[in-house]
């Protein structure tokens, strides 16, 4: 069995480790590129949201490389995401017929560990359990890497950027829990703080795919870091897994904080987006960057709440919606203007304080 999965930012490494540990051959598509998006756009319905199109492109490219089993997360109820796999399978069948697309339902950990995965990979549940344990550690590692990277890139861009590849390889090669522990120590050593502080700090909130996948959001974290802004984030695979295992306390906090604006969950990540934004504001960030795919339903409700948050707290919010026509130049210009605004505000406040 040759398994293909779509890309998911830095967390792809953790997912890759998971599939490998279950004893399947992994066929990764080439990194998400202009071509990937073009393929996806061509095959997808016009009005559907962007993650659908990008993952569809990933799948086509994985099939081209010889994958025969594709794994796609499924199971959100109010959001379009839960229905992706029906349409993706149909779109893929139009191109190739000898494959299967397995929707991985997220909301029952029991079913995932004891039924779905053992049946799919022909392994005992104990092995799945161990793989999930390693997946958790590894995704925590990728989260830590992203945090360290964002911080050190903001103060010394070229040096941190140079360390990125080796750090990613380090995590990728760690197989056992002990090796992962060593990798964590090594990471902390690589990205040791040098006493410099970033110019501004920005909180990143929004739809999960666009906040996590660096190819989808056109490396917005990198661009922000280049301008000297440290990006704080809460959304990552680790927190999502914790959420699925009913132990994500950040979500409870988000729900409590977001209640000022949203009393019922409109599905997707609207509650998290708003809750995390309020949390970041309380942490004293200089600005909030909000990412979502064009026409994303829950995030459009969140925009309204974020606007009220800006009015009440004075922290600027930049809402960026992405579709296949979003140009990198336009994006960078907007970020530059935003970071410039944050810097000025910060300086003005410092001056008025002194």
């Amino acid at each position: 069995m040759r398994v293909g999965i779509p890309y998911f930012g830095y967390d792809t490494i953790a997912l890759k480790g998971f599939i490998r540990e279950l004893g399947a051959e992994l066929v990764m598509p080439p990194p998400t590129s202009r071509r990937t998006i073009e393929i996806g756009v061509k095959l997808a319905p016009e009005l559907v949201c962007m993650p659908f199109k990008i993952t569809l492109g990933n799948f086509i490219e994985a099939l081209e490389r010889g994958a025969d089993t594709l794994l796609m997360a499924a199971g959100a109820r109010k959001c379009r995401f839960g229905y992706y796999h029906y349409l993706q399978e149909r779109a893929l069948r139009a191109v190739k017929s000898d494959f299967r697309l397995v929707p991985v339902t997220q909301y029952s950990a029991y079913e995932f560990i004891f039924k779905l995965m053992p049946a799919l990979f022909a392994v005992p549940p104990a092995r799945v359990l161990r793989a999930v344990y390693h997946l958790l550690i590894k995704s925590a590692l990728t989260r830590d890497l992203r945090r360290l990277l964002n911080r050190s890139r903001a103060v010394n861009f070229s040096q941190a950027e140079g360390l990125k590849e080796s750090a990613l390889r380090l995590i990728d090669e760690a197989r056992t829990a002990a090796e992962m522990r060593r990798a964590r120590l090594e990471l902390n050593r690589l990205f040791a703080r040098n006493g410099k502080e970033p110019a501004v700090r920005v909180g990143l909130v929004g739809e999960i795919y666009f906040t996590i996948d660096q190819a989808a959001n056109q490396e917005i974290e990198k661009e922000l870091a280049r301008l000297g802004a440290e990006v704080l984030f809460e959304r990552c695979l680790y927190n999502h897994l914790r959420h699925l295992l009913h132990s994500d306390f950040g979500y409870l906090r988000s729900r409590r904080l977001a209640r000022t604006y949203l009393r019922a969950c409109p599905g997707g990540e609207a509650i998290r987006t708003v809750g995390e934004a309020i949390w970041f504001v309380r942490q004293g960030v200089d600005g909030i960057v909000h990412l979502f795919p064009f026409t994303c339903m829950p995030e459009n409700i969140a925009i309204e709440a974020l606007q009220r948050l800006t009015e009440s707290s004075g922290v600027p919010v930049l809402s960026l919606s992405f579709d296949e026509h979003t140009s990198n130049t336009g994006l960078v210009t907007r970020i530059e203007a935003f970071v410039e605004l944050l810097r000025r505000r910060k300086n003005a406040r410092r001056l008025s304080r002194d």
Binding site: K78, Y261, A264, G268
Partner: protein, 305 residues
């Protein structure tokens, strides 16, 4: 007490019921005027530009009502029985309304979580503290719930005209003349009878057979079931979708594929606030021409055989 009802979204299904319920509770009910350019513009000014047209319109109605009433009755439909959800925007728009207007007018928004009656009784108690009166009001007004036509009526209705077109769209699109009057009028002027999901009996819409059971949005399931039911009973389908409607963007695709497989004519109209009536009418007329031609050719084939 003056209570306002925005003439948008759920109003087009439950409006009559709400009006009667609130009136018998002793409130004066003020329904916002029919949607027009001015109302839409008010809505556009205050919500995100990416939401769908019905949400922009409802925002306009809320703004329109805010100075005229003491409270706005704007229930939130989260899910109906069977855990069938409303769309995220419909759930969230109530919060948007509160964010926009909470400091200017009271918003009565009972949340419907599976139990339609309980939510309304609760809201009723907020308006009128006497529980007997609330129950009585509910009892009297709930009889006015939209009565759907039965199967037999459909057959006879369909028999009289030359052709029948299934218009697949949400009730809040079809009910709002501002959105869909031009489309419906063009069909009728050209001698076509239209059938919408509102004309179908309730059991058909809640059908759980086949693919429909995978759809977890209540109104999308109705759309799909209505389509499945009308397949083979009508000459063609016209689907009206508002730009940015998330659920429709998927369900339209399911329906389009199915219609293609059955080789039934299918027209997808995507509308937003910039859509001109003339363009829509032209497309509908072209579609009608196609239907007529199919009819003629199949009739001549019959004669030849």
């Amino acid at each position: 007490m003056k209570i306002g009802l925005p003439r948008a979204l759920l109003y087009y299904r439950y409006g009559q019921l709400w009006q009667r319920f609130l009136t018998s509770l002793g409130a004066e009910v003020i329904i916002s005027p029919k949607t027009d350019e001015a109302i839409l513009n008010k809505g556009l000014a205050c919500v995100s530009s990416e939401v769908c047209l019905p949400i922009k319109i409802v925002a306009g109605h809320l703004i329109e009502l805010k100075d005229k009433v003491d409270a706005i009755f704007f229930p939130r439909l989260e899910y109906l029985r069977d855990g069938l959800y409303a769309c995220p925007k419909m759930i969230g728009v109530v919060d948007v309304a509160r964010m926009l207007l909470a400091d200017q007018v009271q918003i009565l928004s009972p949340t419907i979580r599976g139990n339609f009656v309980r939510a309304h009784i609760r809201a009723g108690l907020e308006i009128c503290p006497n529980p007997f009166r609330v129950f009585k009001a509910w009892h009297q007004s709930s009889r006015s719930l939209v009565r759907r036509t039965t199967n037999q009526e459909l057959e006879t209705k369909a028999g009289k005209v030359a052709g029948v077109v299934g218009v697949i769209s949400h009730f809040y699109n079809l009910g709002d003349e501002f959105i869909s009057a031009a489309i419906i009028k063009t069909f009728i002027e050209n001698g076509y009878q239209i059938l919408t999901k509102e004309d179908l009996p309730a059991p058909v819409l809640l059908d759980r057979q086949g693919f429909a059971q995978n759809i977890r949005w209540v109104y999308e399931r109705e759309l799909f079931s209505a389509f499945e039911f009308l397949l083979g009973r009508v000459d063609g389908f016209c689907m009206v979708v508002s730009m940015g409607c998330g659920p429709d963007s998927l369900v339209a695709e399911f329906i389009r594929e199915r219609a293609q497989a059955e080789s039934v004519p299918f027209l997808l109209l995507v509308i937003d606030e910039h859509t001109g009536t003339a363009g829509l009418v032209t497309r509908v007329e072209a579609f009608i021409e196609l239907l007529n031609r199919r009819k003629r050719s199949s009739a001549s084939r019959c004669r030849a055989a």
